[in-house]
Symmetry: D2
Subunit: 378 residues, 4 copies
């Protein structure tokens, strides 16, 4: 997206200057994970994988052990000891992750780090978090405190390390009020949550049509099948619930009323990375005549998501370069939900994104191209 | 559409004050045609048909013989003599139709008449028309002049009778420069062409998504089947060609490049009024990975089109009431093409329509509710 | 089906001689239930409903209160007291239902009664039943014994009343060994279970193609949506489970190996009686190339099932007329499962049905057309 | 298919003993054509292509110039001079091709040669052929005789070289009565025509379901898109017509009545070898309620066809080994049409194939494994 004409004047960080590192709880080399994209899904060509293998190995060398706090039984199945240390408290985890991010910035001589959450969907936290950062902060020392999910630990570490934070998943991340407070006090930008790259993007595109044509939607059914690791984790109902909730609210928000809706997402191993979504939309036209619209989206999940992650990192760095901070609602184009209320139709979200870009024509930073980076954890 | 909130302040003609008349070359009663919507397509409930039968009979009494000039062999199969007189020249046809429209206005004590072309798609005219109205005007007396299609004869008659003109079909209508000149000189509004209610509407909705997400569309295939009279007429290749052309240009205009595209439309009798469209969109994501999006639209053709015809008649009357004239590009929301260049994405078209409506909040006509009417010919 | 040429020599009971009665726990008139087929689903024409209203009222007068023993909370929501008496024991329920069936036969002067279970899917019984009839029989007096589902109570009552029994649902019915023993001792035919009229029929048709062409099926996903009362009952997981199990076994049996399979069925109110099934079949061809076959079946559930119920009643009566008894595996064509092992491919099942019919050409009963009847309960 | 259990006793030629040669009018190496399957369609893995490259080169060395007689303009676009000589008469072409086949057999020390037509669909011959072989034979010397298509020239050459002949295309091949006479007189087997591997196979599978369930099919629409060379040739209407005819007759033959049917096939370049077929089947159930069944088949054309070509060569050789000759109707399982009338439902065709195989258990040839071969021309 950021290579399109409306963004050409933004002086975004050139791709060769982006350095990739991250946190990980699993073992395995990046090049082996990438090879699976070819072998299981025929989605990245072997030529390209070979050409990228040195870069993947270099990125591997910049990956540090993630935190397992407070990982669910399903996630713990992946974890390799002693690779991934079991932090005793959230405080301890935050300190370790923050140190990694700061070292990553210094060792690679980077202008700014953007932490992007692309880990599997977490289960919902079991209890509400305090509203104020100082209250939450004081709980970080509580041993085995299960209420704070990993994604929020990473978000806190990111902010404490002066990094921007992007939540590409339906996990909690920087969404809690207390953590947003931290971001504001540190004057750091953040955005989320849950990248919108397939079925939900189509809902944002199609629902406004039914609204503008006054065609009453009676029901909207979406059935998704996929076979990648994300799908595997979603087999666990506690992990699936936030995902379904994230996929389901948009249609009602666009239409202004809630048709019966149903979203399901199922792990079908043979699909590999090919997330296939069937949607059946039942609607009423003039004189209550019922009609139907069905679609099948056959998209390659990672191939659709990866370029958006790059877009988001470049855009967040650009915002930070200009001194913007707090939530970035003009990035709603990329997400299923936003921490602040935003219009949910695709065209408005595109308008918000390009309007932000347009605003930079006037106020263009003169700081030059400060190198930006992405931090990956999973 | 005109019943939605963004149009509530427009003081559009209330539906009970709309009087329906028209021109027709076929025989048969409206109530029998309407009954077929139930019997062949289960699309209008018998209860409703019964409730509407007196109104349909009243409209029947206001229908006058249309012109068969220069009807194609396929259209002539419908024609009932002596019902539809064979006009000797275009001039003669224009004079007769104009007289009918003026009588219709007087007899029903109407403020304004809007002529809407909802006839079957015509074949393409065999030779180009002159650019200037006075040149075209002088040709109207040429006996059996085949270059001027019926739709344009009706458009001329409409303008000469001080009526607005809406072209809901891909036929020529008021599109020729000479006829647009006539409309300008008469200070009358017109719009068209070809109502957008199914597959093409979806193209206007979906193509912008591929553009904004930088997903390169490799091919876009659309296959339509339908079983109503419109479909029957389209079995003739000379009638089908303008329809296919009308359905095909939009995607390239939105994307800014022309993917391979194919549109077909076929008469399948059992479908009745249920126009079913399968579309297959082949596109490339990151690293040239090919993906596919398929949809099936199962819409009832007349049920989708009818309310748009009412919307257009009300909006044209409102524009005329305010003294607007010439092409109305802010109505592109309803059409596959426009006589003047307009953005082809659905969201921009909606914005143009609502912006026009918003502009009336300031300049609201104080003239009160002048009754408006529709004129139908087929 | 029974009106097709291969069955024309069978001298099946003519339709006008079939008398319909039944048992029911809900209130409401048949004509009102039938009207809903028109109003909610546009599936039976009002003309037809009006023509049938006297016959529906007559059938209503032959419907007796069903048993609520041991009805689930979801079923009890339907029940109208005092219409449906709460039988104290299974014995008491069996005696009452048996008496109704016998009275029905006598009052209508019928040659034979066929009881067909077309009630909603039951939840699974909580404990295994004894294997021998005399053991099961002795338990019928146990008050509030929850192990014996309603469908089996009706099956026992049918056999005790010398009626044949057809199970058109995935409920237990006559499947338990002890009840089959009763049928054998009474020399009565029975068949089941779960009528096959949509998605599962297609599995029986399509799976043999993949097998014969040596195309390895990797996964078979089926997603069903429907909005009728059957769908409403299936919202309860205990009712849904037997349905899913019934829909899922066939593919593996035909293929000889078990691909990953997933069947889901969801209540979507706007669908009414239109059961819509999307299936995605992922398979491997030569050199392990993965391909996909998707289908959408848009069938009207009751309209597909009703004629099969009539077929089954006529065929069961014919078998009984010839002295056949026990399970009728040649009726597997109509069912998702069978009490005895049968081939599950559609063509073999059709061959079995027509071979049975063919066998009657030799051994044709000379008894003439004894009137047969259907007994409905729900 | 021939690797399935029902054929394990046939002692078919082991695959390593099959030698592949052929005739070709295009230039280019087989390995380059195969590479395109990877590059354009991701349908054969690069690993496999590399492993097969020596075998492909060896086959290349056994490919001789085909005949351009009487090639259409579209085919002539492929032809490389001086590679493909322009034979002056059909006689001259037959003699040359026959000589090639005989040399191929001798040089490779083969027991039998099977010629398989896998060339692009030809246009229809412009005039009828004589019924008797001696009449046709006497016309072969007529210079530039356009009535005899290339496929029939190859068929004659095959029979004159004592080879079996398989027609995997809708071209004429050995179908003319005169050429069948030649096959009989030479005691050689032949079969065809037009391999059935996608949409038409599904018609053979699905149509019997509608027949057996007494569901009246109102219309059957099939729309095919593909991007390979076969599709490119079909852009020419004279080439497309026999293909459409071949795809269209089956449904009516199975049902016993002719629903409105429509088959279209279009060249969409981005599809590569992925032949994608959408079918819409409109049918009536009980009380004339209309329902719909839609499917999308996403199959890789060559990957589906190639193994059937191997199956057919092995089965033809086996039949020839046992002295069978003339048309082989038990191979109808593989074809869209047959020279002699055969049942068109998939299950009957499978039964015919396996019954033939079963018959060999009794009359098994004791001749041992005589090597068999395939001859390819295009």
């Amino acid at each position: 997206v950021t290579e399109l004409p409306p963004f050409s004047h933004l002086q975004l960080t050139p791709l060769p200057k982006v350095v990739v590192g991250g946190h990980e709880v699993r073992g395995g080399r990046l090049r082996d994970h990438a090879d699976r994209m070819w072998k299981e899904s025929r989605a990245i060509s072997p030529d390209l994988l070979e050409a990228a293998s040195a870069a993947l190995d270099a990125a591997d060398s910049r990956i540090r052990p993630g935190t397992c706090l407070p990982a669910s039984p399903r996630i713990l199945k992946f974890v390799e000891e002693p690779w991934a240390p079991f932090d005793a408290t959230a405080r301890q985890a935050v300190a370790r992750l923050r140190q990694d991010i700061e070292s990553f910035r210094m060792e690679n001589d980077l202008g700014h780090v953007v932490v992007v959450n692309i880990a599997s969907t977490e289960h919902l936290p079991r209890e509400p978090l305090p509203q104020q950062w100082h209250e939450l902060d004081s709980l970080l020392d509580t041993a085995a405190w299960p209420a704070l999910p990993s994604s929020s630990i990473y978000a806190i570490a990111a902010f404490e390390a002066n990094a921007s934070y992007i939540n590409f998943t339906p996990s909690l991340g920087a969404t809690p009020a207390a953590i947003q407070q931290l971001a504001l006090s540190r004057r750091l930008p953040h955005a989320g949550y849950d990248g919108k790259s397939g079925e939900t993007m189509l809902k944002a595109v199609l629902a406004p049509m039914f609204a503008a044509r006054h065609l009453h939607v009676s029901s909207w059914v979406g059935h998704n099948i996929l076979g990648n690791l994300d799908g595997w984790v979603l087999q666990d109902a506690t992990h699936k619930e936030p995902k379904l909730r994230s996929k389901d609210h948009l249609v009602g928000e666009v239409l202004g009323y809630a048709p019966q809706s149903l979203v399901s997402i199922e792990f079908i191993e043979s699909m590999g990375d090919w997330k296939t979504a069937w949607n059946h939309i039942h609607f009423e036209g003039f004189m209550s005549t019922r009609m139907a619209f069905q679609f099948t989206w056959q998209g390659c999940d990672s191939i659709l998501a990866a370029p958006l992650v790059i877009d988001l990192a470049r855009l967040a760095e650009r915002a930070h370069r200009d001194g913007e901070y707090g939530p970035m609602p003009w990035l709603s184009f990329f997400f299923k939900s936003s921490p602040t209320p935003v219009p949910q139709d695709f065209a408005s979200q595109w308008d918000a994104l390009t309007a932000w870009s347009e605003s930079k024509k006037v106020s263009r930073s003169t700081a030059g191209a400060t190198p930006s980076t992405l931090d990956r954890h999973s």
